[in-house]
């Protein structure tokens, strides 16, 4: 059965929902959601797609979570949003914003995970209505060292919360200037997983942690295959090995393998797409040379193909954030990315050609399939 595609768009000034026709040629844009608030992530629950959770923060107000049970028409605020515990002595951390949302394992209906800035991990067991800190990370005696860096503009973030579809207790996350971490016990304990990852911004031999993953992905059909877009290149890991291999070197040097987002093919673990950005000199974070392009590998990173047909050939200084590129499950798969200049570009043929489907939106921070 052919189904329409729904895109959940998080922007600096609210959320929007785009709905396609069956051919994915025509798109309608909803009224704004949480208008005026910064929506960092808006995610539908694959176990119950009418449920949508959004992470929001207004300019004056603290961070919160909104939950919809009707596909985004009506929203209710979480009664207990993610918040760090208050220590008995001294001062504790406070959540600046919720950055990342991940629906829980199939075997745990109602469970969601949230990653915050400053980095913290939170869990909900009631579809996002109330949240509790994960002590195994938030109170881990190593946390101050793991999260030691100041992080990027906007603050250090927890992101890329990944769950092994075979085992709800086996998870990963990525953390700005912390690296990738893994748990085998549902979050009670964590260990760094950064061996093989380059780190060119500090002197000395490679450390155990302190790396800067931008986006980490796990293929649901091949959960032993991990991909990572890092501050220092593109990597792949095949478990049970615990070592990353840089696979982005085959992208031409003038483009480079630095970027924020990465998205995986829904059926082929050998295929993934990235959106290279200029990570040279002062880090403009824009399309290298003002020539935006997606790069795809069809063989796990052995080679890469440039995909820019339909994209502006010149003078287009796109920035695409880590949550702002996604892929639908249709055949052929549809690819989508959103820019900080408020445009959404779509491909109905796995990146072979591109068409702009929305413009004039605020800065796009996330894009997910609804």
């Amino acid at each position: 059965m052919v189904t329409n595609v729904r895109l959940l768009v998080g922007t600096a000034k609210g959320g929007w929902i785009l709905d396609s026709d069956a051919a994915r040629r025509k798109w309608t844009v909803s009224a704004p959601i949480c208008f005026g608030q910064s929506v960092n992530h808006m995610v539908a629950d694959p176990r119950e797609p009418s449920r949508v959770v959004a992470a929001a923060k207004a300019g004056h107000l603290g961070p919160t979570i909104f939950v919809s049970v009707d596909g985004g028409r009506k929203w209710k605020e979480a009664s207990k949003p993610p918040a760090f515990d208050k220590p008995e002595e001294g001062s504790g951390l406070s959540v600046d914003h919720v950055f990342w949302l991940t629906p829980g394992h199939r075997s745990e209906p109602g469970v969601w995970w949230a990653g915050t800035s400053p980095p913290g991990l939170f869990r909900s067991e009631d579809h996002g209505a109330t949240w509790t800190g994960v002590d195994g990370l938030n109170k881990n005696p190593m946390r101050p060292q793991w999260c030691g860096g100041e992080g990027p503009p906007g603050g250090a973030r927890m992101h890329s919360i990944l769950i092994d579809p075979r085992d709800a207790r086996h998870m990963y996350f990525g953390m700005s200037l912390g690296g990738v971490f893994e748990t085998m016990d549902g979050g009670a304990s964590w260990a760094p997983l950064n061996k093989g990852c380059e780190i060119d911004y500090i002197p000395g031999p490679p450390p155990e942690f302190g790396h800067d993953p931008h986006c980490v992905r796990l293929h649901p059909l091949a959960p032993d295959r991990l991909y990572q877009q890092n501050h220092c290149g593109i990597y792949r890991m095949d478990r049970p090995t615990g070592e990353w291999t840089r696979i982005g070197r085959k992208i031409p040097k003038k483009t480079g393998d630095i970027g924020f987002p990465m998205t995986l093919h829904p059926r082929d673990p050998e295929t993934c797409w990235v959106f290279p950005m200029d990570g040279t000199s002062v880090w403009p974070r824009t399309s290298p040379g003002g020539k935006p392009a997606v790069y795809v590998t069809r063989n796990g990173g052995k080679s890469w193909i440039r995909q820019d047909k339909g994209l502006p050939p010149d003078n287009a200084w796109f920035t695409v954030f880590r949550q702002a590129m996604t892929c639908d499950a249709r055949k052929p798969a549809g690819l989508y990315f959103g820019t900080t200049s408020g445009e959404i570009w779509a491909s109905r043929d796995e990146g072979e050609s591109w068409k702009r489907i929305a413009e004039h939106l605020p800065r796009i921070q996330s894009l997910e399939i609804g």
């Binding site: 005026g36 004056h60 603290g62």
Partner: protein, 88 residues
């Protein structure tokens, strides 16, 4: 006493700009406010009981950064959203 609610927080008070809340200290008034309008306090006060950066609180006409400030004879609390918090 009367608590004056700024625009960004009126989604909690059913769009009312003035509501009632009671308490001997500013913190107690905000706790009472949160009982009447659940969730409103956390948007103003973080989990470490710090007033959020762009929120200013007045007991009567006197600004305070201390939740232990006694309300005394004051008959009103003003919650003000600072211009510094406007989103770019």
């Amino acid at each position: 006493m009367i608590v004056y609610i700024p625009g960004p927080l009126r989604s909690y008070t059913r769009e009312r700009s003035q509501v009632e809340a009671e308490g001997a200290t500013l913190g107690a008034v905000l706790a009472d406010l949160d009982r009447r309008f659940p969730g409103i306090r956390f948007r103003m006060i973080d989990e470490q009981d710090r007033i959020r950066e762009h929120i200013k609180l007045f007991v009567g006409h006197d600004q305070t950064k201390d939740l232990n400030t006694e309300t005394g004879l004051a008959r009103e609390i003003h919650i003000v959203c600072a211009l510094s918090g406007g989103r770019r």
